[in-house]
């Protein structure tokens, strides 16, 4: 199974990828959060400077990068979330 998802890039990840958002048409699902991150790294190798200091958000829920399996559906939003600095 694959899904079409929208990937959102924020803060430093937007600068590194040169994008605010993009559509990925055939992301395998289910996929581990590590697998999803690796896929984004392949597309944008400069994101590797965020390695170990980044999490993802899938449908607006934080997901640490690791073995956890994520089920994706068409139209889902995935965000790259560098360290937060609100306030």
């Amino acid at each position: 199974m694959t899904a079409q998802v929208t990937v959102l890039y924020f803060a430093k990840s937007a600068e590194l990828s040169g994008l605010k958002e993009e559509e990925l048409v055939a992301v395998p699902t289910p996929i581990s959060s590590q697998g999803l991150w690796s896929l984004l790294l392949q597309r944008h190798p400069r994101l590797c400077v965020l390695q170990h200091q980044v999490v993802l958000a899938v449908r607006q829920q934080y997901v640490a990068i690791g073995d956890e399996l994520v089920a994706l559906g068409d139209g889902d939003e995935v965000a790259v979330v560098p360290p937060l600095s609100g306030g």
Binding site: F10, A11, V81, P82, P83, S85, G86, G87
Partner: protein, 155 residues
């Protein structure tokens, strides 16, 4: 009659009014309003002076994380009546408020403790980012030590 709780987060691109945030939590049953104001500090880093901060947010998720944050606060301090946060986005120059938060409660102790926790949680969980901009035209993304995946995270 029990007053319904109000939890309000506004992300704004204009100047913040402390009075507006305080008014948003007013309640006849509350004897205390706790307020926190976070201001952009004048700072010097490696000889470069900070002239301002540039903020951005994942806006729909900021709203959903704010609702979760309020649920956590109310579970621990059930007497908290209303919570209101106004947070700036875009350019904020040194000396201006970037966040104003108010919590109303019948008595001050609950409100003050809840405020302490709410500010910690906001810095740890709200998907908002800021970049410090220096007089040298350079800039750097900041990281809150409260954020669990920040390189400077403190336990």
């Amino acid at each position: 009659m029990v007053e319904p709780h109000r939890d309000v987060l506004k992300l704004r691109r204009d100047w913040l009014s402390v009075q507006e945030v305080v008014d948003a939590v007013s309640s006849a049953s509350c004897g205390a309003t706790s307020v926190f104001i976070g201001t952009t500090r004048e700072d010097v880093l490696d000889g470069r002076k900070v002239i301002g901060l540039e903020y951005e947010a994942y806006e729909p998720m900021a709203q959903s994380e704010f609702r979760k944050l309020c649920d956590v606060i109310r579970e621990r301090w059930p007497s908290v009546t209303h919570v209101c946060v106004h947070h700036r986005l875009g350019w904020v120059k040194v000396g201006e408020a970037s966040v104003v938060m108010a919590i109303s409660s019948p008595h001050r102790h609950d409100g003050q403790q809840a405020m302490q926790q709410a500010v910690e949680q906001l810095k740890a969980r709200l998907p908002v980012w800021k970049k410090e901009v220096y007089d040298s035209q350079e800039a750097s993304w900041k990281e809150n030590s409260e954020c669990p995946w920040a390189s400077n995270h403190k336990q």
